[in-house]
């Protein structure tokens, strides 16, 4: 939609629409709901990472006073459509989703749900869990993706055959998928290069770390209608998954969104909801389930660990000749590691005549991963951006100029074969070149500056919203689009400008699945981008309907007016040929009550937009203490192409929050495993960054309009997490001369890397003396 007047709200720092309820403690999150007669559900989880379940005896638990229901895998209806698949970002097929929800014949990770209990109090439910007897036959543990790929590795799934472009394999394997994409001749590329660098990298399993544990209340009413209040990124996705898992038609299944206390990709799959519904159906009462923090760590979907090898070649002048990567990602217990995200992103900011990526999606005895902000991209960028820095150094080139020389732009090709539309890589790098941070020399011992880029393809899927005009002229946006990042505010701003009405005339309601039109989940940085197009259509429809009303009302016996005769701007309708004949918006809205022609409801839906590829870069200055290995961040600037900023406070907030998650991934966070058992399932031992670990996070936004969509908006949520670990690794290298290739770069790791370097230098000096 094009508006003739300049925007009044788009681009302005409008305070968050739902902020007041958040600062007064009245926002209702998943665990805040209480229903009359409500029971409390708890989950019995496997203590073994890999074990057959021979027998479950719940009779003693059921005999405990206050216990109202126990469910196991037996309570799920049988699988019908094994080909159905769900997800949004990381797909999972229905059979695997069933087995992930509750273990069938095998427990596949520590914390895998085995049974669930509903009781009149949380204490009784917990006591009942201890009374359920499970006979396990413990199996050898597949601890990581490299072990899982060995020919003699124990198999997690007897019927998992590798999907590849080649022949169907004859034997099952822990390798679920092999993706191979690329173009050009790499052998020629290496031959043409003056310098070729090859390096392997490793990242660990990390968690999204949202502060709100998963929580839901389910109630199966007397008619068999299911009501689920839950903290999810996508009510309709949850509804579809629950419908398939429980064989209930969609109209009998209402998913009601609770406020989401952080998600970052980790609240996409249903997890407690199916168990709560099964328990409620058995008990005939509402059932509430809330995870504790250890369950969140063990039994939700963290982010994939990865092993990545990158090879890059360039000519002396810095022109890349070829890029290659082998990516092995650990999906946890069921297939679906983010290999596609990693593949698209790993070389996305650059062009080269030859590129190839081989990627492996591998299962192990760990929790099944979910998306985590730009899934796959952060590990990929850690590998590629570190390697490119090594290459720039070998060539004696400035890391910024080297990246600019190879920056991809419109018409260049991603490794996947996608040809880019308008993208912002060069604009970002030019912004860095002009930025005071880049132009302020960094002085002092053990200090270094690191630069890295990040990318995200930008998800699309289907988005819908309705714009409803009330008879007093006020407007509400009715949508099923869950707000996880402040999208209620950006949607209000867009609609206010699209309808040319004051912002305070408009409200927004995120409704349940029975009351709103289908819309896909809020993930993949797709919400504001796709909703900008959906809302534009809804607003066009509203204005067309309002024009029809105005035409009718302004018609005279001697002259029937049509909507084409009516002009609209700034809350007023008038006759094109006679601008004196005016009706205000409010009056036209009021007509709909009595004329039998209302109500005015505009529905907007989009499914096919050209992707709005997103790029970012980060610059950080660190000081390394060689005595302790501690890395102190002195200065940090996040750069990003936002396409068009709808709300600068929110864009900055996404950039700062994402950057800090990247810093956590780079410096502190990891799952500490001991033969498939998690040693650090607390927020003390799993170390998320605190305010004390950080400086202010400066931001620099560039706006290169996206090629599609009415406003040029690009998603902004994913890209800021991507560059951090690589930018830190590059900074640490420049500070103390050690190249770290494993995350996280904890003080201990940095310390030992420095010791090794000293040792090597010492040995070299001794050898030199000897000669």
């Amino acid at each position: 939609m094009t508006t003739t007047t300049p925007f009044r709200y788009i681009g302005k720092p409008i305070p968050k629409a739902d902020a007041l309820e958040r600062v007064t403690g009245t926002a209702r999150f998943g665990a805040d709901l209480k229903l009359p007669g409500m029971l409390h559900g708890k989950v019995l989880r496997s203590p073994h990472p890999h074990a057959y379940i021979r027998r479950i005896d719940a009779s003693r638990a059921l005999a405990l006073e206050g216990v109202k229901a126990v469910v196991t895998a037996q309570d799920l209806p049988p699988l019908e459509d094994a080909r159905a698949a769900f997800g949004g970002e990381l797909m999972i097929d229905l059979d695997h989703l069933r087995r992930l929800t509750i273990a069938h014949e095998k427990a596949l990770f520590e914390g895998h749900a085995v049974a669930a209990v509903a009781a009149t109090s949380p204490e009784i439910a917990e006591a009942a869990l201890e009374l359920i007897q499970v006979d396990y036959e413990v199996l050898p543990v597949v601890e990581n993706a490299l072990d899982a790929m060995k020919p003699d590795a124990p198999l997690l799934h007897p019927n998992l055959y590798t999907r590849t472009l080649g022949e169907k394999p004859s034997k099952p394997s822990n390798i679920a998928t092999i993706v191979e994409v690329g173009f050009g001749d790499l052998e020629k590329a290496w031959a043409a290069a003056d310098v070729v660098v090859e390096q392997s990298f490793e990242t660990q399993m990390v968690h999204q770390g949202y502060l709100e544990p998963q929580a839901c209340v389910a109630w199966v009413d007397a008619d068999g209608r299911i009501h689920v209040w839950t903290t999810t990124q996508g009510t309709f996705n949850a509804q579809r998954m629950l419908s398939a898992l429980l064989k209930v038609p969609l109209h009998m299944l209402n998913v009601i969104p609770a406020e989401v206390g952080g998600a970052f990709g980790g609240k996409i799959y249903v997890i407690l909801e199916p168990l709560a519904i099964l328990l409620s159906r058995k008990a005939g009462r509402p059932v509430k389930m809330v995870m504790d923090r250890a369950e969140v760590f063990r039994a939700t979907g963290p982010a994939s660990p990865a092993y990545i090898t990158v090879k890059a070649g360039a000519k002396r002048d810095g022109t890349l000749t070829g890029l290659y990567a082998k990516i092995v990602m650990d999906a946890g217990a069921f297939p679906g590691a983010p290999v596609q995200g990693a593949t698209w992103c790993i070389f996305a900011p650059y062009k080269a005549p030859a590129m190839k990526v081989e990627a492996y999606d591998v299962v192990t005895n760990k929790p099944r991963v979910q998306a985590y902000r730009a899934p796959g991209a952060t590990a990929a960028a850690f590998a590629s951006e570190s390697t490119l820095d090594m290459l720039a150094e070998r060539l004696g080139l400035d890391p910024l100029e080297f990246r600019l020389r190879n920056a991809a732009q419109e018409g260049d090709q991603n490794v996947t074969g996608q040809t880019y539309g308008r993208i912002g890589v060069k604009a970002i790098l030019e912004a860095i070149r002009k930025h005071p941070h880049w132009n302020t020399p960094l002085q002092g011992k053990n200090r270094g500056r690191g630069l890295a880029m990040g990318a995200w393809m930008g998800a699309i899927l289907t988005s819908s919203s309705q714009v409803v005009v009330n008879v007093d002229g006020t407007v509400q946006i009715v949508t099923g689009q869950v707000d996880i990042t402040g999208t209620r505010t950006s949607m209000l701003q867009m609609v206010a400008d699209m309808l040319q009405l004051p912002l305070d005339h408009i409200s927004i309601r995120v409704g349940d699945t029975n009351c709103t039109p289908y819309t896909d989940l809020s993930a993949g940085s797709r919400t504001t981008f796709t909703q900008s197009a959906a809302l534009a259509r809804a607003c066009q429809s509203v204005i067309a309907q309002m024009k029809a009303q105005a035409a009718d009302a302004l018609s005279k016996p001697d002259r029937r007016l049509t909507p084409e005769d009516i002009e609209y701007a700034d809350g007023k309708f008038w006759v094109k040929s006679d601008p004196e004949q005016v009706l205000p918006w409010r009056q036209v809205a009021g007509l709909t009550r009595t004329r039998g022609t209302g109500p005015i409801v505009g529905t907007g839906t989009v499914t096919r937009l050209q992707p709005a590829n997103e790029f970012s870069a980060q610059l950080c200055d660190v000081e390394v203490d060689p005595e302790t290995g501690k890395v102190k961040i002195l200065r940090f600037t996040a750069f990003q192409d936002a396409g068009r900023v709808i709300n600068p406070i929110q864009v900055e907030g996404q950039m700062q929050g994402g950057a800090v998650q990247g810093i956590g991934w780079g410096l502190f966070e990891y799952y500490a495993w001991d033969k498939g058992k998690l040693r650090n399932p607390t927020l003390l031992d799993y170390r998320e960054p605190t305010a004390l670990d950080l400086p202010m996070i400066d931001t620099c936004i560039v706006e290169v309009p996206a090629p599609d969509g009415p406003l040029g908006v690009r998603g902004v949520g994913e890209p800021p997490i991507v560059p951090g670990p690589a930018a830190l690794a590059n900074a640490i290298y420049r500070a103390v001369g050690v190249r770290l290739t494993k995350l996280p770069m904890t003080p201990e790791t940095v310390f030992w890397a420095i010791q090794e370097k000293k040792q090597a230098e010492h040995l070299q000096a001794v050898a030199g003396d000897g000669a």
Binding site: P13, P15, K16, D18, A19, L20, E21, R22, V23, T24, G25, T26, A27, R28, F29, A31, D32, K34, L64, S121, E123, I124, E126, A127, E130, L131, Q208, G209, Y210, L211, E212, P213, E259, V260, G261, G262, A263, F264, D292, R293, I484, T485, G486, I649, Q650, E652, G653, Q656, G657, V660, Q661, T682, L683, L684, T690, A691, L692, L694, M696, I697
Partner: protein, 166 residues
């Protein structure tokens, strides 16, 4: 038998507390935390449980004027105490300057950690009305936020300290 003493399930202890200025007499389970008592018995769900073991700060409240993680205090320990939760910050329909500043500076996203931050900040400004940036960071180091990267939270608190938000 289970490790939980089921025969003790019906035990209740009387606790008197003044919460956000209002006196209350509660019958709580002796093992119930102050957090649970506030949420379950008084319906004050603004105080959140993020971890249940004192690591995330989401359940921060003021007890007798000092910050505590209410998940680490047993409800009977709060007998006779004065409690301030996020629901009590606004006075006579007027937001606390910290609440205003958090809105104005965009110092919250999902909002789950916000109540805890507001109370840690409230305590800081009571004890030290003119904190440095480092002192602000130190005061909120026990509160995790996963959305904002802390930048705007620190700025909002400093703005209140400087009297820029009243």
């Amino acid at each position: 038998m289970t490790t939980f003493p089921l025969d003790k399930l019906s035990l209740r202890t009387q606790v008197r507390m003044k919460v956000n200025g209002e006196p209350h007499v509660l019958l709580v389970k002796p093992w119930q935390t102050l957090l649970e008592a506030l949420r379950e018995e008084l319906g004050l769900t603004g105080t959140k449980e993020g971890c249940g073991n004192g690591n995330c700060g989401c359940c921060t409240i003021l007890m007798n004027g000092k910050t505590v993680n209410s998940c680490l205090v047993l409800a009977p320990e709060a007998d006779g105490a004065e409690i301030l939760t996020v629901e009590g910050l606004a006075q006579n329909g007027r937001l606390d300057p910290l609440q205003k500043a958090f809105i104005q500076y965009g110092a919250l996203q999902c909002g789950f950690c916000t109540p805890g931050f507001l109370l840690s900040a409230k305590y800081l400004l009571q004890e030290n009305p003119n904190p440095t940036e480092h002192q602000v960071r130190l005061a909120i180091a026990g509160n995790l936020c996963r959305c904002t990267g802390y930048d705007k939270i620190v700025r909002a608190i400093l703005a209140v300290a400087r009297g820029e938000v009243q």
